[in-house]
Symmetry: C2
Subunit: 244 residues, 2 copies
DNA sequence: CGGGGTTTTGAGAAACTTCAAATATTGTGG
DNA sequence: CCACAATATTTGAAGTTTCTCAAAACCCCG
């Protein structure tokens, strides 16, 4: 990609908003050119390495911002080490709570991540003055709430097999996967451990259920992180949802 | 779902906003007197009987509104009958998506419920003009998102015992329960079935775990829906969360 | 008092986890 | 480019938790 050089600080040159790859989906997508120029003045870019902690629970967060590239996981760590992922942020998604000074969850970079950051206080101030930002943030938060609830159904009521099938089908839908004669080719963005934390399972169960789907011909593994879905409808049928 | 006697009227005389019991928490709580009078013009009250369906999945929702009295559950029913609750609305909470025309979940009255309703289209229109409403709705939605995520941790990683302990502790905190010499007296607002749907368990497991907490002296049941908590800290310790 | 619904209890089965170890895979320095 | 260490994934066997099925007990209301 264009924004690739990793400098030690994780700082990046500022991309002009007009050329921003997430301009149509980000928190600023309802904003006028005039408002964009105000945001442009307070934004900065930063990159994080795979596995790097962007924010940790209880820590004061100086910044909020948009995911430009990569994936960020939000998770809660229980005192005894159990971890549950509670959110997965893709490019365009917004990270952080403008109106709260400590982060309620750990935000961890999955793969390399680039954020478009704003100073939290200054962003909060702008939010107070901008109906466009406010409204966009509301719409995004409502979408996140819907996703969280869908996820609750998965966590509370689905079997391990359904969880895995749901996750793979979701990944297939989210990444506009290349279709070839043998099916959809997709890459799994998460490690088995991260999948387990996402789905409320152990890594062993994740591995076994992926194996089972493979044996049943619903997926074909090329390697541990890449697979082919010959028939997405058949896979989706294993996910336990209503036929959409 | 149980059959219930019909609710012929369900209409209630309009309470003046100035005398509204949820004025400090509702979606209108940031609004000026002037804006309240606009809302007052388009609001209506309606009551629902215990178990009555307020909205069902996929159905067009004509209204949105605030819970004034009672509790509303939001849940998703899977095609084979499994049900997962995804939200529990208390007085002051807002029901419905202004910017979406079909409800994504079933909204069911738990006990008798009174709503302060607005025509969805008209409310949506006001939302476009009102920073106060917008901002309040954003704050409420962020709180709901936090609650949903907390709940995801419970669903994905907690044991049955921890789930029950969490639920009882939560209920105790939410209902300013009367304290007497023997402890906190609380009423469980949900049936065992509703608790099971909330916690991602079966009714039998709910019943057994309540029995276990009782045997361990962490709760004292007066009847199936009323109990005493001698030591809330001890109960909370069973919930598996960080010590707060 | 009867009947519907709710809650509890029991026994066995199933799903998932835990512990343990083997097998890939990846990154690194020589 | 290879060997090696570190990490990630798979597999196996046994154990635990939770579910399922079945039935009894309880409770509220008319």
């Amino acid at each position: 990609m264009t924004l690739h050089s990793t400098n030690p600080e994780g700082r990046k040159p500022v991309i002009r908003c007009a050329a921003c790859p997430i301009a149509d989906r980000a928190v600023c997508s309802y904003s006028t050119t005039r408002e964009l120029s105000l945001l442009e003045a307070i934004k900065s870019y930063r990159t994080y390495l795979p596995g790097e902690e962007i924010q940790s629970t209880g820590e004061a967060a100086a910044h909020v911002g948009s995911v430009v590239e990569g994936i960020v996981s939000l998770s809660r760590l229980m005192p005894d080490g159990r971890r549950q992922m509670v959110g997965l942020l893709f490019p365009g998604d917004f990270l952080g709570r403008a109106t709260r000074d400590t982060a309620p969850y750990d935000a961890i970079a999955v793969g390399q991540v680039t954020l478009c950051q704003f100073d939290r206080r200054r962003f909060e101030k702008m939010l107070g003055d901008s109906p466009a930002l406010n409204r966009r943030l509301l719409d995004m938060t409502l979408d996140e709430l819907d996703a969280a609830r869908e996820w609750m159904v998965l966590l509370g009521r689905k079997t391990a097999r359904e969880k895995i099938a749901s996750f793979i089908a979701l990944t297939a839908r989210r990444s506009r996967a290349p279709v070839s004669a043998d099916g959809l080719h997709i890459a799994l963005p998460l490690t088995r451990e991260a999948m387990a934390d996402y789905l409320g399972l152990t890594i062993e169960t994740v591995s076994r259920q992926i194996g089972a789907l493979k044996r049943d011909g619903l997926i074909i593994l090329t390697d541990a992180r890449h697979l082919v879905i010959p028939d997405l409808d058949a896979l989706s049928a294993e996910a336990g949802d209503d036929v959409v």
